[in-house]
Symmetry: C2
Subunit: 322 residues, 2 copies
C-alpha cells in the first residue's frame, strides 16, 4: 500500500508537494517535481480512489438501475458504459427485478455517495420518491416520464409507430391490427395517438380491427395468431409491441402452415439481434446512442457544462415479413 507519505519521504519533500507535483496544480520547482515523479515511478504509486472520493465528494461513478440486463436494456447499458468510460466515469449496476425495495437501495447508494448520479432504465417506484432523491445527485430516466427534476430520454414512439404504419400502408395492407404493450405506459398512448392520426390521414376506420393490449412476449404472439384463426378473418398485417411478440407470431404461423407475408404481414419493433435471423421487418432505433445522450445529460449536470444531445431517428428495416 504505497501512499503519498511514502512518496514524500522518498523524494524528500512534504506530501503537499507530492500532491502538487502529480496533479500539476500550484507551484513546484522542476527539481522537486522530477524527484517526486521518479519516486512515484519507483514505488509504482497510484492514488487511493476512496481517499480522493472522500476528500472531493466526487466518485466519478454512475449507477445504472434496471430490472435485468437482457434485450434492449443490454444495448442501453452498453451504450451508457461506453460513453461513461470514454469520459473517465465508471458504471455500477443495480439490478432490481422490478422490485421497488431494490430501486430504493439504488437511491440510497446515491445518497450515501457511492455514485454521483443515477440513470433509471425502468422503474416501478413512485416518481415523487425518485424525484426526492435528486437533491443528492442528478437522476435521469429512460422510461418515459414527465417531471421537472427528472429528465427522461425516451423514444418518441409516435414517430416510430407511424413509420411502421406508413410502411404497412405503402405495401398495400389496409386491415391493420395493433398489438400494444402495457396500457399504463405513456409510450402506449403515443402509439394509440399515432394510429388515430394514421387512420385520419388515409380515411381508414380506426375500429375496423380489434387491437390487443398488454402484450410483450413470444407466447402472446402465438396466442394472437390462434385467436384470429378461431375468430374471423385474419388481418392483412400486424403492427406489434416489439420483436418478441412478432417472433412468436412468425413461429406460430410457420407451425400452422401459414405463409408470411401472404397470409398476414408482421412488423416488429426494436430490431433486436434475432430479428435478422428471423428475417423480420422491424423498426430500428439507436438505443446505444440514446444511452450516450442520457450520459451527456448527467455529465452536463455534474460538471456544469453544456454538451449537445445527438438527435436520433427511427428507421425501418425491411425484411421478409412485410
Amino acid at each position: 500500500m504505497t501512499n503519498i507519505k511514502e512518496i514524500a519521504k522518498r523524494a524528500g519533500v512534504s506530501p503537499s508537494t507530492v500532491s502538487r507535483a502529480l496533479s500539476g496544480k500550484g507551484y513546484v520547482s522542476e527539481e522537486k517535481k522530477r524527484r517526486v515523479l521518479a519516486a512515484a515511478e519507483e514505488f509504482d504509486y497510484a492514488p487511493n480512489l476512496n481517499a480522493l472520493s472522500l476528500k472531493t465528494g466526487i466518485t466519478r461513478r454512475l449507477g445504472l438501475v434496471a430490472p435485468a440486463f437482457i434485450e434492449s436494456v443490454s444495448l442501453f447499458t452498453g451504450g451508457f458504459v461506453r460513453a461513461a468510460e470514454e469520459n473517465g466515469y465508471t458504471v455500477t449496476l443495480f439490478m432490481t427485478g422490478s422490485d421497488v425495495s431494490k430501486e430504493l437501495e439504488a437511491l440510497e447508494a446515491l445518497r450515501r455517495k457511492q455514485v454521483d448520479a443515477l440513470v433509471f432504465v425502468m422503474f416501478k417506484s413512485d416518481l415523487s420518491l425518485i424525484a426526492s432523491y435528486t437533491k443528492y445527485g442528478p437522476i435521469v430516466s429512460w422510461q418515459r416520464i414527465i417531471h421537472p427534476d427528472v429528465p427522461s430520454v425516451f423514444m418518441n414512439q409516435y414517430d416510430g409507430y407511424m413509420i411502421a404504419l406508413e410502411h404497412l400502408y405503402a405495401r398495400g395492407y389496409r386491415r391493420i391490427c395493433n398489438i400494444y404493450g402495457a396500457p399504463t405506459r405513456l409510450n402506449t398512448q403515443s402509439r394509440i395517438d399515432a394510429f388515430r392520426d394514421f387512420c385520419a390521414k388515409y380515411e381508414l376506420d380506426p375500429c375496423a380491427c380489434p387491437s390487443f393490449d398488454d402484450m410483450g412476449n413470444p407466447s402472446h404472439g402465438e396466442q394472437i395468431v390462434r385467436w384470429w384463426l378461431e375468430n374471423g378473418q385474419i388481418p392483412d398485417a400486424f403492427a406489434t409491441t416489439n420483436d418478441r411478440v412478432a417472433a412468436g407470431m412468425v413461429a406460430e404461423a410457420r407451425r400452422l402452415g401459414l405463409r408470411i407475408p401472404e397470409d398476414f404481414a408482421v412488423c416488429g419493433f426494436d430490431n433486436l439481434d434475432f430479428a435478422d435471423m428471423l428475417d423480420l421487418t422491424t423498426i430500428h432505433y439507436p438505443v446505444n446512442e440514446q444511452a450516450g445522450n442520457a450520459f451527456s445529460i448527467i455529465r452536463n449536470r455534474i460538471e456544469h457544462i453544456d454538451l449537445p444531445l445527438r438527435p436520433l431517428k427511427f428507421h425501418l428495416v425491411q425484411r421478409g415479413t412485410t
Copy 2:
C-alpha cells in the same frame, strides 16, 4: 450532508458513541442509544460509504470485466450481479471491447481500491499480467485458463459437446460435421477431444467429414451451407459452435428451400433467447448459476469462508432442428 458529528451534537454525545450505537459494537447505555437512534432518524442519517471504504479498506464493490454486454455475457452478468447484491456487494462494469488497454484500466481500478475483486468474463491480456494484480485482490476468470493464482469457472465443453454428439447419433445421424470456434481456445480443444472419443466409441471415421474452424456468427453458418451445396453431399447433421452459427444455417436453409431436419439437422449451443423462437435444438448450460459460483469463489477469498460451489450440468433442449 448530515454526518456523524451532527448526529453526535444533536444527541448530546460524542461521535464515537454514535458509531457504537449504530454499529452495535461496544458498550452504549440504553438511554444514549435511544437518543442517537432518534437523532439519526430525525436527520435521516446514512453513513458516507467513501469514508467507510477509506477507513476499513473494504469497498464491497466488485468489478466485472467483459468485451461487451450481449448474449451469454448478459446472462453471466445478470447471475453475477444477483449473487453479489444478495450478499451486500455491488458490481461495477468494465467494458473492454477486447482492448487490452481497457483491461489494464480494470486491473488498475483494483489496485486503486475502487473494487475489492475482479471477475474477467473474457480477456486478451497476458495471463501473467493479470495474475500479477492478484496481490491487490482476488481475480477470477470465466474464460477457461490454467493458473495457480487465478481460478477459472469455465464450462467443461467436453461434456456439453458430447451430449450434442450423442443426441445426433441417437437420432440416427451418422455423418456429422463439426463447426468449431477459435482454435486457440482451450474450449475448442475440449470439443475436438470429445469428437475423437465419440468416434472411437461408435467406431466412426473421425475424418469422414471436414470440419470448420473459427466460426461464430450467423454469416458463418450461411457460408457453410452454401459451401456444402457447391462441394459435395451435405452432411446428415451439424454440431455447431453456438446458436448464432446454427441460426445462420437455419435461415439460409429456409431461403434455399432446404428442409430441416430432413435435408440436414442442426444442433446449436448456449440456448440463447432466440433458440426457442427459431425452434432450434441446442445445449443448455446454467450460465447464471455459474456466475453465482464465480461470486462464491471471490467471497470465499475476501471473507475467508468456505461457501460450497454448486455443481452444474449441461442438458439437451430438443426442438425441431434435429
